[in-house]
Structures are given as C-alpha cells and as structure tokens.
C-alpha cells in the first residue's frame, strides 16, 4: 500500500518543495488505523462532510440573500421561487443544520461510550467541545436570517439570556442588539458572524484532526494499538467504509430534503417577523431542545435568581464536558469493559431525550418536575457518577491486543455490525 507517490516527475518536483503529496500519503493513505473500528466511527468523517455541504450551500445562498429586515424574508422566498435550484440549496442548508447536529451528537455519544476523551486524547475531546459550541452559535445566528416569526423571537429570547448577568447584563444585551430591540443592526451582524464562524470551525477541525492523528483513533476495545498486526492502512479500508456510510446517510438526508423538507421546521417561520406580536409558543429547533429545557427548568438556587441560575446551568451543561477527562476516574476507556458505566451511559441518553421532550412543551404540570429532575440528573451524571463509578467499578479484564481480541472471536467480520450489545 505504501507505494511512493513520487513517480510522476511534476509531482516529485512539487513534493520536494511543498510536501503536500507525502503528507496526504502519510495521513490519508497509509495512516495506520485500528482494524476494529465499528460503524459508529463513521460519524467523524460524516461531520466533516456535513460541514463542507453547509459551507458550500451557504456560500451560494449568501449570493442571493439580503440581510435587511425589510427584505430578508422576501429574499429567502425569492430564492425558493425564482432562483434556479434555489429551493434545493435552501432546503439542503435548512435540513443540513439538523443533520449536522444529528451526526455530531452521535459522534459525541460514541466518544462518551468508548472513553475517547481519556488520556492521551483530552485535547482532542476539548477541541471537539469547542467545535460544538461554535456550531451552536452558528446555527442560532443562521436561524435568525430568514427573519420569520420564530427567527425573530428566538433571537430575542436567547440574546435576552445575557440580561441575567448582574449589573452589566442590560448593557450587554443592548450591545448585542445594536439598539433597543432585535432589529436591522442585529440581523446584519448575525449574517456577518454566521458567514465567519464556519471558517473558524474549519480551523478548529484542522486542530482536531492534528490531535487525532497524533495518537490515532480510539477503538471499540479502548486499548492501544501494540503493533502493525493491530492496524490497517486508512486507504482503502476506511475510505471505502466511510464512503458507504456516506451513501446511506445521503439517502436519509435526501429523503428529508426532497420529500419532507419542512418536517423538522416550525410553520411559524413562514410568517414574516413581527416585533409587535409573539407567537403562542416559542420553540427552538430540535437540536437545542435539551438545553432549552435546562434553561427553563432551573428554579431559584439559594441567593441566585432562577433567570441567572438557568443561564449558568445552560452554559454549565456544555462547560462540564470540558472537564470529562478528569471527572472520569476509570482506568479503562471502553464501556465494554465497564460493567456499571455501560448501563449508566444509557441513563444519560434517556435523560437527554427527556430533556428534549420537556424542551418542546410548555413548562406546565408534570413537565416542570420532569424538567427539573432530568436537569439535576444531567449534572449528577457527570459531576458525581463519573468519578464515583470510576473508583468503585471493577473493570473486566482487557484483551491483550486488538488482533488477539479479533482472533478470539473466530475471525468474525471486523467492525461489522455493532459489537456492543453482545456483552
């Protein structure tokens, strides 16, 4: 596989001065990868592809879009009606946001399950959390651009979060708005930042990949590669596997774009923004619902008023992820060898689902209690259960090497199907 790429004269000339071909050969072609990665490892490359799709469709949409409160809504509808393939670009971008988050959330939970954040991949993980934060900011500001009712009121409510900050809160909010309400200056700066941030994300993704390639991918067993028998070259094994995964993903994505493009959206956003009238219910896009639930659930805590406490918990919910590498005290990475954590992991998945469900409903009756309990559990999970389980749990014996584990299974297909539920 490691055939030198420098056969062509021109290639050799360039490579001698700018070793781009050697680099690609090294990092994409022969890059040694654990031989046992499951399909859950596809979601990293899928995230990268989604980022490219979003940037490309976004750049072309920006050629037609007008960031002005009087024209933004109509300019989006002009894209839908008059621009050639405008409807396709717009629906790809609009549904792309949802699918980007689906892919990234799966990628994140995969890392949680297999301990991909643990030594020596702490910075890799933290860079991933930075990407998630940047994505959230980008998605939030992008949702404002069509200037529908939900765009406007979402922007108003979320920017108003900062008014919870004592003393300077109101000044900060007015600064964010560039005025006394969400208005034209707000729309303009959101457009500017919505265009900028994806390229910042690209930068952080590059760092994420540099950190990844330093120690290579984690794997379902969570043990280090011990030698060449444990790894295979990235190309063609994982290129073809990623491509196949991409095909399956694109089929689902296309089904939404072409046959139910508005299923994940809110009808209210087809009504032009009206600063004088709030819709009956303000609901964020689905990917923000768990966080929205946390924001709304938190009551007064001691001397901290509920408004501020909610904002603190909202940011804390993501902030806590930065500390996972040190909150997790377990000696092994993969939940496959952690008899207790492997079940507790699913409690978190259920908890986030419950949070999302609460976020979609008005905080009345049972939803208040459910929201509070699930918010509480979210933090207990990471701050208390993570270290405690690590101390108390007795991990199962680890296989001596990846190759040994594979042969013990009697040559079962590598990485095919999900190996987890067998344990």
């Amino acid at each position: 596989m490691a055939a030198a790429p420098q056969q062509n004269k021109i290639v050799r000339w360039i490579d001698h001065r700018l070793p781009i071909f050697t680099f690609m050969q090294h990092e994409l072609n022969e890059y040694p990868t654990p031989r046992n990665l499951s399909y859950w490892w596809n979601f990293g490359s899928l995230s990268g592809i989604m980022l490219v799709i979003m940037i490309v469709t976004g750049v072309f949409l920006a050629m037609q879009y007008t960031p002005n409160v009087n024209m933004a809504f109509d300019s989006v509808e002009r894209i839908m009606r008059d621009v050639n393939f405008g409807w396709l670009l717009r629906y790809l971008h609009m549904n792309g946001a949802s699918f980007f988050f689906i892919v990234v959330y799966v990628h994140l939970f995969r890392g949680l399950y297999y301990g991909s954040y643990k030594e020596p991949r702490e910075l890799l993980w933290m860079l991933g959390v930075v990407i998630l934060l940047l994505m959230m900011a980008t998605a939030f500001m992008g949702y404002v651009l069509p200037w529908g009712q939900m765009s406007f009121w979402g922007a108003k409510v979320i920017t108003s979060l900062f008014s919870a900050i004592p003393v300077v809160g109101d000044s900060i909010v007015r600064w964010l708005w560039g005025g006394f309400s969400v208005d034209n200056p707000t729309l303009n700066r959101f457009f500017s930042l919505h265009y900028l941030l994806p390229f910042v994300i690209v930068g952080v993704v590059v760092l994420h990949l540099v950190a990844l390639h330093q120690h290579g991918s984690n794997n379902p067993l969570g043990i280090d590669r011990k030698g060449p028998q444990d790894s295979i070259p990235f190309h063609p094994y994982y290129t073809v596997k990623d491509m196949f995964g991409l095909g399956v993903f694109l089929i689902i994505y296309a089904a939404f774009v072409f046959y139910m493009p508005n299923a994940l959206g809110d009808p209210q956003n087809y009504v032009q923004a009206n600063p004088m009238q709030t819709p009956l219910e303000i609901v964020p896009e689905w990917y923000f619902l768990p966080f929205y639930a946390i924001l709304r659930s938190v009551p007064d805590i001691l001397f901290i008023p509920a408004k501020l406490a909610g904002v603190l918990c909202l940011f804390g919910a993501i902030g806590v992820l930065f500390f996972l590498p040190w909150l997790d005290t377990s000696r092994v990475r993969s939940a496959r060898f952690r008899p207790v954590y492997k079940w507790v992991f699913w409690l978190l998945v259920i908890d986030v689902a419950v949070l999302g469900y609460c976020g979609a409903h008005r905080p009345e009756g049972w939803f208040i209690l459910a929201g509070r309990l699930s918010t509480l559990y979210y933090f207990v999970h990471f701050i208390i259960l993570f270290p405690v389980i690590g101390w108390l749990e007795r991990p199962l014996p680890l296989p001596t090497s990846i190759a040994a584990a594979v042969t013990r299974k009697g040559g079962a297909p590598l990485g095919a199907a999900s190996p987890m539920e067998k344990h």
Binding site: V240, G247, I251, A254, F258, V271, G356, L414
Partner: protein, 250 residues
C-alpha cells in the same frame, strides 16, 4: 448500540407533535399533491385561483406571487397577459415625479387590496387579513387547515361569549375569528362548468394556495426521485466494494 438508534427514534417521535394544539382535529382530506409522486391538479388550482380573484383578493394580498407565476398552474402566456392587464398597477414616478396607474404586466406582483396594513385595519374593523402567499406552509395542518377553516363556521356553543364582530369557527385557534364566512357555495361561476359547492370551492382554493406556497414542489419531488435512485445504486455498489476490500482483512 441498536438501543441508541431506538432512543433517537423515540426522541424524534416525542418532539414532532410538540406544536400540536388542543383543538378540534382537522378532517384529513385527500389531495392531488399528496405523496412522493403527487402533483398539483391544474384544473382545481385554476378554479381555486378564480375563487381567490373573485372572493379572497378583496381583503387578502398575495405579495410573493407574480402574474407570470400562473404559468405554473397551466395558464398560457396570453391568458396571463389578460389576467395581468385587468389589474391597475401603481408605477412611477414619471417625468413629473408623480406615481401613475397602468395596466398590469406578467412581471408584476399580484396587486394587493390595500396599500398597507394600516389601511386594511381601518377598512376592516381593525382586523388584518394575513397575506396568503405562504399560508399553507405557515399553518399547522396546511391545506387541511385552510379547507377546514373555510367550512368551519358554526353557531357558537351555548354559553360562549363572542366578542364584537367575531365569528365562531371550529378550527380557528380560540374559535373566534374576525373574518366573516367568505364562502357559502355558488360564490363564483367556474369557467369549466364545475358546480361551485362550498366543499368544491374550499378544496380548490386550498389547492391553489398550496401551489402558491410552494410552486417548485413538483420539480423538487421529480428531482428527488432521480437523486434517490442514483444514491441507492451508488450505495449498493459501494457496499459491494466495501465487502470485497474488507474480505482481505479476515
């Protein structure tokens, strides 16, 4: 991790009906544009346009539509010219710096009934009729909602206090709607001889409005079919290639 997939699916199910309201359930109609191969029934859409022109357009604007767009529901170029020319459009300013009226052209947007929202409110007891360009996409239930609303006028239930100038409507949020019943049957004489019952008119105008909300739907579904076929073939071949390449690892 099959359980994760299940959890994601359950989560999705839980979230979708979030916007649904506790109102009288809308009767589900059957539409020509339903399903992955559905298209707009041109004749119904043209009848619906006639209803809009002769009834709805006295109060409701459709600012996002142009007369040229009517080609999408099967009007010929000459018919569109005639439809546009029947309207007076404000243009200008002319050399004297004044606005003037001229007959409409296909490239003009639908002429609105009122110059601005304030004029509409002043003329209509303070109520503002919404623009209908996107009404189907902007309402939960879409065409079923519009169809139901147009036929949903009833006497208020005993004991319900109605505000002044309000009508009881089964399918309207809060049941009190400022719009008087717009259709009663036989409001228009359909050019194609179809009998203009209330049901027929409501169905046709909902068809027209659905087209108006998304004139590119047919192109979208048609393109989608081709894209999906291509992706299925490509993914199948990729699966074969993947199995073959990985066969070497075992």
């Amino acid at each position: 991790m099959r359980a994760l997939a299940l959890a994601v699916a359950l989560f999705a199910l839980a979230v979708v009906p979030a916007g649904a309201q506790e109102e009288t359930p809308l009767p589900k109609q059957s539409w020509s544009f339903d399903g992955p191969f559905g298209t707009y029934d041109r004749a119904a859409a043209q009848r619906g346009f006639q209803v809009y022109e002769e009834v709805c357009s006295h109060c409701h604007s459709m600012n996002l539509l142009h007369y040229r767009d009517l080609e999408g529901i099967g009007y010929s170029e000459d018919e569109i010219k005639a439809i546009a020319a029947a309207q007076q459009v404000t243009d200008g300013p002319n050399d004297q710096g004044e606005m003037y009226q001229r007959p409409g052209r296909p490239s003009d947007a639908f002429v609105p009934p009122f110059a601005n929202p304030e004029a509409a409110r002043a003329a209509l007891n303070g109520a503002l009729p919404p623009d209908l360009s996107l009404i189907i996409k902007a309402r939960e239930g879409g065409p079923d909602y519009v169809d139901g609303l147009l036929q949903g006028y009833k006497n208020p239930p005993a004991g319900m206090k109605m505000a002044d100038n309000m009508q009881y409507n089964e399918y309207f949020t809060g049941h009190q709607i400022a719009m008087p019943p717009p259709l009663a049957g036989d409001d228009v004489k359909f050019a194609d001889g179809t009998k203009a019952t209330l049901t027929q008119e409501a169905h046709d105008v909902a068809t027209f409005l659905t087209w108006a909300s998304e004139p590119t739907m047919e192109e979208r579904k048609f393109t989608g079919a081709k894209v999906l076929i291509f992706l299925l073939v490509m993914t199948g071949v990729l699966y074969g290639a993947k199995r073959q390449i990985w066969a070497a690892v075992h």
